[in-house]
């Protein structure tokens, strides 16, 4: 199988994605638990760009006439899952954020009460 320009470009792009994800994790810019999905994507992309007939084979088996559209389908499904995943993360973050605001409010008033009694006691002893 001759190696052509398209293949070189697609392999280097996929490998760059993989390297970028690993680098982000290494520098603590991306949490491991959120990096798995990206690592998996990069690996899938690498597999498809190295083994080009795979895409044609799968597309053919699924009855997809134009193989690249199978790639689009995969990409759209992946993005949908990712967005849903983000929505759940946002929900839990906003719930945690609300809880923190409430606890801060309660702690502040309880702290003020303690400070006030401490001050009065000090006033009595002086």
């Amino acid at each position: 199988m001759p190696v052509d320009i398209v293949q070189i470009v697609s392999i280097s792009v996929s490998v760059s994605i993989l390297v970028a994800v690993i680098e982000l994790v290494r520098r603590n810019h991306l949490k491991e638990r959120y990096s798995l999905i990206w690592l998996a994507t990069a690996v899938v992309l690498i597999v498809f760009s190295v083994w080009r007939t795979l895409l044609h084979t799968i597309a053919g088996k699924l009855g997809i006439y134009y193989p690249p559209s199978f790639l689009f389908l995969l990409a759209i499904c992946f993005l949908l899952v990712l967005l849903l995943h983000f929505s759940t993360i946002i929900s839990s973050l906003s719930e945690n954020n609300k809880r923190l605001a409430q606890e801060i409010g309660v702690l502040k008033i309880r702290l003020e009460a303690i400070e006030n009694t401490a001050e009065t006691r000090q006033g009595v002893t002086e």
Binding site: K98, A101, Q102, G105, V106, I109
Partner: protein, 231 residues
């Protein structure tokens, strides 16, 4: 029995002092805590000036988050009963005894003060009345008990109810949804008549389209609550 009156307030500088005075005069047996829900006016300063306890939330959480803060505080401080009383001046402290009375008699966990059960009744726009009737029918059917005033923010909670609501309290339509959730949890719900005054400051901006849109959203929220997993 230690009773805490939770007063959620968001930009209520015009009415908050009247509310505090009313509570002190007509319900002296309860401790008051004002939940200042990130107001940008002088609500907090005025309440503190009157010597009231004020919990200042760092940003606006909405009425649900504010009331829930009250439950967390009440549980922390060991209160047996919590009372929710609006900071906008539409509730009347002299009516608290009626609601508390029902609370004690029925061994209820949640008693809703209803303006529609009171003798003087309540005058409001057609949209509001119609909306209230539809909501009442739906909520009553869901909980299997007649609830006339589903959007009332005049309520009494048992410690059991506080423990439940400190954990999950709805944010979108807290008054209506909390009744549905309480029922799902198996809490005992009751209603007592409570007279209310109309709003003193500001005016309602409800139109027919908005009213319909609101109803659709509330119905969806109730549906979601019905399928929600609670433990």
């Amino acid at each position: 029995m230690k009773i805490l009156v939770i007063v959620p307030a968001y930009n209520e500088e015009l009415s908050i002092s009247g509310v505090i005075q009313d509570l002190r005069d007509n319900f002296p047996q309860g401790d008051i805590v004002i939940i200042n829900d990130g107001s940008i006016d002088n609500t907090s300063a005025i309440a503190k000036g009157l010597g009231a306890k004020v919990i200042d939330l760092p940003y606006n959480l909405g009425i649900g988050g504010a009331v829930q803060t009250g439950f967390i505080y009440a549980l922390d401080m060991g209160y047996d009963v919590a009372l929710q009383f609006d900071g906008d001046g539409q509730h009347v402290a002299a009516e608290i005894c009626k609601v508390l009375d029902r609370f004690g008699k029925e061994g209820a966990d949640l008693v809703v003060g209803s303006r529609f059960l009171s003798e003087t009744g309540f005058t409001s726009s057609v949209q509001r009345r119609l909306g209230a009737i539809i909501l009442s029918l739906v909520v009553s059917a869901v909980v299997g008990k007649r609830i006339t005033d589903t959007t009332s923010g005049f309520r009494v909670y048992s410690r059991r109810a506080m423990e439940f609501f400190a954990n999950i309290y709805p944010e979108d339509y807290p008054e209506v949804e909390s009744v549905v959730l309480a029922h799902k949890k198996g809490l005992v719900i009751a209603e007592a008549p409570a007279e209310m005054t109309g709003r003193k400051f500001g005016k309602s901006s409800i139109t027919m389209t908005r009213a319909v849109y609101y109803m659709v959203k509330v119905m969806l929220a109730i549906l979601v609550d019905l399928i929600k997993k609670i433990d």
